[in-house]
Symmetry: C2
Subunit: 140 residues, 2 copies
Amino acid sequence: MDALFLVWLVARSTEDLLDSALAPSGLTGDEYAIYSVLSAAPTITPTELARWLAAPATTVSSYVKRFEARGHVTREPNPDDRRSYRIRLTPKGRRAHRAAGALFAPLRTEVAERLGSRAEDALEVLLRLRTVVDGIRAGA
Amino acid sequence: MDALFLVWLVARSTEDLLDSALAPSGLTGDEYAIYSVLSAAPTITPTELARWLAAPATTVSSYVKRFEARGHVTREPNPDDRRSYRIRLTPKGRRAHRAAGALFAPLRTEVAERLGSRAEDALEVLLRLRTVVDGIRAGA
DNA sequence: CCCACATGGTGCGATCTCGCAGTACATCTG
DNA sequence: CAGATGTACTGCGAGATCGCACCATGTGGG
């Protein structure tokens, strides 16, 4: 068994679980995660967001357009760079995120319970994995 | 920090890393993983494959069509159920998988090295996560 | 100060993903 | 051994992802 392959399997299962659980909120698992990133920072540029998501710029561009059309996000001018802009979750966007969060919470709890004493390990391992993979991605 | 969210972040990074690394082989990260599942079992039905991938039947159907068009996969009648069929990797498909595997190997090694002593933990945690998530998905 | 080159974003189009609805076969019930 | 109900798969179409080519702006060298 290989760690990267397992990451992939776990991710598929997780994605499916979240998509089902969050469906009533109107957000997909991916979208919930993205909204979570957005709500963690008051404001963020597309490039920064792309780095967090490890997604291509074009995809992020589509996200912003979609979320903006929903009224969940606004663009503000970026004082530091006129080519760019800053993305901000609107109150409506925050509400959507909270609503999805309410559906997400029970899963979070359930997973923590089932992990039992290994919950701590799991967090540490995952953080380390992200560091390792990003390190390799960054070029060495 | 939440385990499920971290799973998602790690998966995005991993996917990006694999897509870049495997590009010369003509397979994406997803496809490499699927070919890996296919090569682990001599033969598999679409429904079984869908369970492994935690993917909807329709998506698996598209996969099979695509891989078949590449000559990487064949369909054989399923003696147990005439609605179904069995998917088998062709020699050409195996070759493609091996070629991608050659590009994958260095990453595997690199990740293992960087994880160091935690490599064992990582595997265990990931396996446990898959069990936990699948358990919840299965309904309780 | 200008120019060459690097970087931030987007329109467009090819390709994927996946829900819905439909068909074919299997299985269960009486 | 029907008839009803469930399960395996697929055509189709809507929406999502993302590479390529492109424009606008920033930056570093001479």
